[in-house]
């Protein structure tokens, strides 16, 4: 048996033991009959194992095959998934779950459109997340999930241009959402940000929001207490990436009323206990509303 095949054989046997994988799963991994699988398991039959076998194990367990082969992976999570539910999220995404998975679905759709399902799946496996979680968009996740998703995409080679467009692409389908329907009622940028101010809870519930109009400017101050997001406190570059995503997202709301994005001047402070981000939108080219708007 060649060196790789010998290593793969040994490693797969170890993984079956480590994960507590029932032998009835072997046909799905080896793509052989149950009889041949048992012959392999009892070492009566030799099968040249390849990377594809670990890729099948990857889809079963929701953890990247690279991690499984190297032995560096969340064993507890993997065992839970084998015995219980492949949709279990890593512990990292299970605290302060204030966001719905649907708010990242546009990113997955974009990846599928431009790179294919397999690429999108691999991004999620690299986060130790099963792609199947997107079968329920009401699943709750936290800000760390978004941060990790953006980081993983950046490491996967998406250009800065593409990364920037991820927040804007969301608006192509936002009219189908509650916040999109509310803001779509506006006639101009003043209306847009006025409606947003009154409906932040439909946008995001991680940050605290304060806003006001001063002359032709809309001032938005946001604060994120890091006591509830300790992972962000330790990941400066990743946090900057997440905040950049949010900045572009906030600029694009006028698109919902047929307007062009309005990029705010931004002040960002990342302190040890909180993140403070202030945005100032110049609405001087927008017409102020003449009629009081009815909110849905």
């Amino acid at each position: 048996m060649k060196k790789n095949a010998k290593f793969y054989d040994q490693r797969l046997r170890e993984l079956i033991g480590e994960l507590g994988l029932p032998l009835k799963c072997l046909p799905d991994i080896l793509e052989l009959s149950s009889e041949n699988c048992l012959s392999w398991w009892s070492q009566k039959k030799s099968i040249p194992l390849k990377l594809e076998h670990f890729q099948r194990l990857e889809s079963l367990v929701g953890i990247s095959e690279n991690s499984l082969r190297s032995g560096v992976y969340d064993l507890e999570l993997a065992r839970k998934r084998v015995s219980d539910n492949s949709l279990i999220l890593p512990e990292r995404y299970c605290t302060n779950q204030n966001s719905f998975l649907r708010t990242s679905f546009h990113i997955i759709k974009y990846l599928i459109l431009t790179r294919g399902q397999s690429f999108a799946d691999q991004i999620l496996y690299n986060m130790n997340v099963s792609p199947l979680i997107y079968s329920n968009l009401d699943t709750k996740v936290n800000l760390t999930y978004f941060m990790d998703l953006l980081d993983t995409l950046s490491k996967a080679g998406l250009s800065n241009l593409e990364m920037d467009s991820l927040s804007s692409v969301m608006f192509l389908s936002m009219h189908e959402t509650k916040i999109g329907q509310i803001i779509g009622q506006g006639n101009n940028a003043h209306d847009v940000y006025s409606l947003l101010s009154k409906n932040f809870e439909y946008f995001d519930t991680n940050f605290e929001y304060k806003s006001k109009f001063i002359g032709n400017s809309y001032i938005l101050e946001t604060e994120l207490p890091l006591s509830k997001h300790t992972i962000l406190a330790q990941a400066h570059e990743s946090t900057l990436r997440l905040m950049r995503y949010r900045q572009i997202l906030l600029a694009w709301f006028p698109y919902l009323t047929g307007g062009t994005p309005i990029f705010p001047s931004t002040s960002l402070e990342i302190k040890s206990d909180r993140i403070l981000a202030s945005y100032s939108f110049n609405l001087s080219n927008s017409i102020k509303p003449q009629v009081q708007l009815q909110l849905v």
Binding site: Y110, L113, T114, R115, G116, F119, L161, D164, S165, S168, V169, F171, L172, R244, Q247, I248, A251, T260, P261, F263, P264, S265, T266
Partner: protein, 102 residues
């Protein structure tokens, strides 16, 4: 069947890049090599590589042939054109707005 000008009324770098990514995705899903697709299109490997890299000025003839060879989906092409518009708007903002993130 959609015509090229219907889907992409304005061709720019974003259209070419996104189209290239999409063509590459569809080719890989069909397990076809670049040279096989180039041969079907009657163009050089180099030219086909340029299509996938977003560096080839597209035309309706290439578009129609690729659509047939790689089984392009109309809805997906429309989605691509929408994404291209969004990217173009961001690019304009980056060039013209001081406030665009550095």
């Amino acid at each position: 069947m959609l015509h090229f000008e219907q889907v992409f009324p304005q061709q720019n770098d974003h259209v070419r890049q996104l189209f290239g990514l999409y063509a590459k995705r569809k080719r890989i899903e069909l397990n076809l090599s670049r040279s096989a697709v180039a041969l079907s299109l009657l163009i050089s490997n180099y030219s086909y590589a340029a299509i996938e890299e977003g560096k080839y000025a597209l035309n309706s003839k290439i578009f129609e042939k690729l659509t047939a060879i790689l089984f392009f989906d109309e809805d997906e092409l429309i989605d691509l054109s929408q994404v291209a518009k969004v990217r173009a708007m961001n690019e304009v903002a980056e060039a013209m707005c001081n406030e665009y993130p550095a």
